[in-house]
């Protein structure tokens, strides 16, 4: 059962991942990315971390992608959809991608350690309580640093999106820019 679910989720995730890169219209590729993120959240449940799955949906799907779509809708992308697809340096890029893919393929197939499941017994799902305790004790400093970074990003986004003259568009951008 689990195996079938994994195959289903990973197939859809891979397909929509390709669509992100291949779609001409940014809206389409954003929606493909949303699909991909939802599949990845489902995979997180298979990996025994429901909390991360919900956070994934909350932050990535509910906030980041909505923000993306908001910006895309504010800009005029109809003419973008007709513009040139690839960059000038595309051949070099293709080469790099090929090397990267080959390298990963090589590492994954030649390394025998990960091809078998070495944990015996069913792995237990760590509770949210454990997760929270570890986060707030052992990783307190990184946590605080992350929150400061979020604050800085918030202020930065507001400053960037703010225009000199107070036009009406600022309010919308502010509303979009403040989130996360």
């Amino acid at each position: 059962m689990e195996r079938e679910f994994f195959l289903l989720f990973s197939t859809v995730a891979t397909g929509s991942g390709f669509l992100v890169v291949l779609a001409k219209n940014p809206i389409h590729s954003a929606l493909a990315l949303v699909t991909c993120f939802v599949q990845i959240a489902a995979l997180f449940i298979l990996l025994g971390s429901p909390f991360l799955a919900v956070i994934q949906i909350f932050v990535y799907v509910g906030a980041i992608m909505v923000l993306f779509l908001f910006v895309i809708m504010m800009l005029d992308v109809r003419k973008e959809a007709r513009s040139r697809f690839l960059t000038k340096g595309a051949p070099l890029g293709f080469l790099v991608i090929l090397v990267l893919a080959a390298e990963m393929f090589f590492l994954l197939t030649r390394n025998a350690v990960f091809s078998t499941n070495i944990v015996d017994g069913v792995p237990t799902t760590p509770s949210i309580k454990e997760l929270g305790l570890t986060l707030f004790s052992e990783y307190l400093l990184p946590f605080e640093v992350a929150s400061v970074i979020l604050l800085v990003a918030l202020i930065g986004a507001v400053v960037l999106a703010k225009t000199e003259e107070d036009d009406t568009a600022t309010k919308d951008e502010l509303a979009g820019g403040v989130v996360k």
Binding site: E2, G17, V20, V21, I64, F85, K88, G156
Partner: protein, 100 residues
């Protein structure tokens, strides 16, 4: 049980897809989205290893990744909106003004 290598292969495929988007596409928005895809594939890896080795740290680092990504996207989109106000273009090559 699903062998951890399956997750690694999936993550690798998504990572390469994302990298292709970053390197090949001209549209800034799609480049940003491909970046998100790469970060997510890394998250899959983190959680897969955390699950595999029964270690909480995988989840915790994934939480940090998600938090920092949120910050990154907010700033990136802010920069994008500010840029578009000055230069009406969404293409990567038109935005290379620092190159002189």
């Amino acid at each position: 049980m699903i062998p951890v290598s399956w997750y690694l292969i999936l993550a690798a495929i998504l990572f390469v897809t994302g990298a292709a988007g970053v390197l090949l596409r001209r549209n800034v928005l799609i480049v940003l989205m491909s970046l998100e895809l790469m970060l997510n594939s890394v998250n899959i890896n983190l959680l897969a290893f955390g699950h595999h080795f029964q270690d909480l740290r995988g989840q915790i680092i994934a939480i940090f990744v998600i938090a920092i990504t949120a910050a990154e996207v907010a700033v990136a989109l802010g920069i994008l909106v500010a840029l578009l106000r000055n230069k009406h273009s969404l293409e990567v090559e038109d935005l290379a003004i620092l190159k002189g």
